[in-house]
């Protein structure tokens, strides 16, 4: 962090993902501005885990996240709604197999 690097006054936006103790995946829980990754992790710890929300934190600069276009929501997601044969719910599972 020296004066020769550009625009360090602007702290970029980071998206924060937290995994809870019982969870398998990191869930998006919010965002914050920070100067760099360790700083973002420390702030995420203070802001998003103070009520024991989780045991693991990921931070990602927001500009690195590619998101689907909301205007294309219909063509991306609607066609799946009437194709219930894709869901794995029509099998009868024998009792010996147990819970799946």
């Amino acid at each position: 962090m020296t004066d020769t690097q550009p625009a360090l006054k602007d702290w970029p936006l980071w998206e924060v993902f937290v995994r809870s103790k019982q969870g398998l995946e990191h869930k998006h829980c919010g965002s914050l501005h920070a100067s760099d990754a360790p700083h973002a992790l420390q702030m995420a710890r203070d802001v998003y885990t103070r009520r024991q929300e989780g045991v693991s934190i990921w931070v990602v600069p927001s500009h690195l996240i590619a998101a689907s276009d909301p205007d294309q929501k219909d063509e991306l997601f609607e066609p799946a709604s009437d194709k219930i044969y894709r869901h794995p719910t029509f099998y009868e599972i024998p009792d010996e197999v147990g819970h799946m």
Binding site: M1, T2, D3, L32, H33, A34, S35, P38, H39, Q42, M43, R45, D46, V47, R50
Partner: protein, 257 residues
């Protein structure tokens, strides 16, 4: 018991000071961080006061110890009661300086990481348990303060100037750490307390390494007045701090939630 009060008063006074940032911190995340930090310290203070009150046995409670003792009875380091501002700041309500807060938190956390680590082996089992819990908290406090110290020191010209000024102002107040008061010496002799003088080299190593990374210069040692907060001889700031902290409890002494 005076030794426990020394530890508890340290935590309570610094907790109260850091809580002054609530609503006023430079950014939202640090507002939360300072509040978390204060809550950790006040939690440590509560555990220590409860332990001390049980030992005193004369009807004392954590509340009577925290709210109904006067400034001359407090045993905290003078370093911790100073307002968040430059030397000779008349009151604590002026513009608060973030660098002062960070440097103070760093200097104190660097000490307490070593002290709590030693106290986790205390012959007093309750104090050892409190130490084990507090050690985790203070490790985070140290990391938080140290990261900020490096960013401020090795940052812009303005942040470097403020961090250096804060260091020049606060470092002499840490001389108080190294001469044991009578309660400290007595507790250390029993194995219940920490021999703080023995931690001096480790503290210096921690501090010097961080200052080097932060491109900050350690001010020249001044063999001047060593503050005596832990003997009950405080700066004028403590009475204002206690006045604000204790006024509600003293106005309604028998109130319960």
């Amino acid at each position: 018991m005076d030794y426990l009060l020394h530890l508890a008063d340290n935590a309570l006074v610094l907790g109260q000071r850091n809580a002054e940032w609530c609503g006023h911190a430079p950014i939202l995340e640090e507002d939360l961080a300072m509040a978390n930090h204060s809550l950790d310290l006040i939690g440590q203070a509560r555990l220590l006061y409860q332990h001390a009150a049980a030992l005193a046995g004369d009807g004392a409670t954590e509340d009577t110890l925290a709210y109904f003792r006067d400034a001359t009875q407090f045993r905290n380091y003078t370093l911790l009661e100073l307002p968040h501002g430059p030397p000779l700041a008349p009151t604590a309500t002026g513009d608060r300086d973030w660098a002062t807060t960070i440097v103070r938190n760093f200097l104190y956390s660097a000490l307490m990481v070593l002290v709590w680590d030693r106290l986790a082996q205390s012959t007093d089992p309750q104090l050892a348990a409190i130490a084990a819990k507090s050690l985790k908290e203070v490790r985070y406090h140290l990391r938080h303060a140290r990261d900020w110290l490096v960013r401020l020191g090795d940052g812009t010209a303005e942040s470097h100037r403020r961090a250096q000024a804060a260091l020049d102002h606060l470092l002499p107040f840490t001389d108080e750490f190294w001469t044991a008061s009578a309660p400290e010496a007595e507790a250390a002799a029993r194995g219940a307390g920490a021999d703080v003088a023995a931690l001096r080299d480790a503290w210096n190593a921690l501090v010097d390494e961080a200052l080097r990374e932060a491109t900050l210069r350690r001010p020249a040692a001044v063999n001047g007045y060593v503050t005596q907060g832990k003997e009950g001889l405080h700066s004028e700031h403590l009475s204002y701090l206690l006045g604000e902290m204790q006024s509600l409890a003293r106005a309604h002494p028998d109130a319960t939630w």
